[in-house]
Amino acid sequence: MSNPSAGQSSKSKAGSSQPCETTSFKRKRGVFQKDLQHMMYGFGDDPNPLPETVALVEDIVVEYVSDLAHKAQDLGSKRGKLSVEDFLYLIRKDPPKLNRCTELLSMQEELKQARKAFEVDEEKLASIE
């Protein structure tokens, strides 16, 4: 059972079918741990979630993101390169997620514009002075 990613130190797919704490892959544990604790509290867990629960959720999330990314990459390879559209296509069946993502993207656009406007103003101020 040669595991090709065993030698890699990067976070490879958790490779856990059962979301159990697997140690066969060299993946840094607790990458998202701190954030996940706050997030789980926000969604209804205890203010201090159990560490094993957080670890499990992290494993599941990493696996989810990996699967999603793999599928997106399959889609993207047909077009040439990976794009946001691929991810959006994958969650099309999930209206809340889709709406959220479109909101985020438009928000990001807005922020970009605002930043640009901000920078332009700064330049103007600088040139005036």
Binding site: D35, D45, D46, T53, N99, R100, C101, L111
Partner: protein, 216 residues
Amino acid sequence: MVLVQRMKQSKDPFEAALEESPGDSPDELEIETQPQTGTAAGSATAAVTGELEDEFDNLESQAPMSVSAGPAAKMTMSKNKDEYDEEDDENVDVELGKFPSSSDPAKMAKMQAILNQFTEDQMNRYESFRRSALQKSNMRRLLVSITGSQKISLPMTIVVCGIAKMFVGELVETARMVMTERNESGPIRPCHIREAYRRLKLEGKVPKRSVPRLFR
């Protein structure tokens, strides 16, 4: 450019801009802030920072803690402000409640009404909900390692963080449902999460690998 770098790190350009020039940005960037609902406390800068952060977050939750059937997601994609959150912790309740829910005055009013009636506990939880996020840098690293390509754009990272956050939400909420079914209480245990995960898989919300993983 510094601003751009800051953006990548802070995941909130407004916040980054704010750090750069506290004097100018608040005016510039207070696009949709409204006067405090009375929970406003703390310094103006911190408040604005929080507001701006939350403005970005604002996207998701229209309704507190409900399984997201409805409005655009309970998934606060909020670009993680956790690092900044630690610093601005004193303003826990400040910023919330002044965010236009999609710039819709009716929704806004509704939101305000709901938020005004929150207990402190609820407010804390809501605060965590809005402000928590997965770090974009970590997510980017993960995506790079999965796809093997270095060209992961910022929007992609943002989208994936958002999707992941919503997924966590689904997991936790389903786990809570499982707990109530079993009449258990207290912190969520791994067995609940596993059961929740199993249910989500049955509902088809978890992408299945088209090729079964070998050598498990």
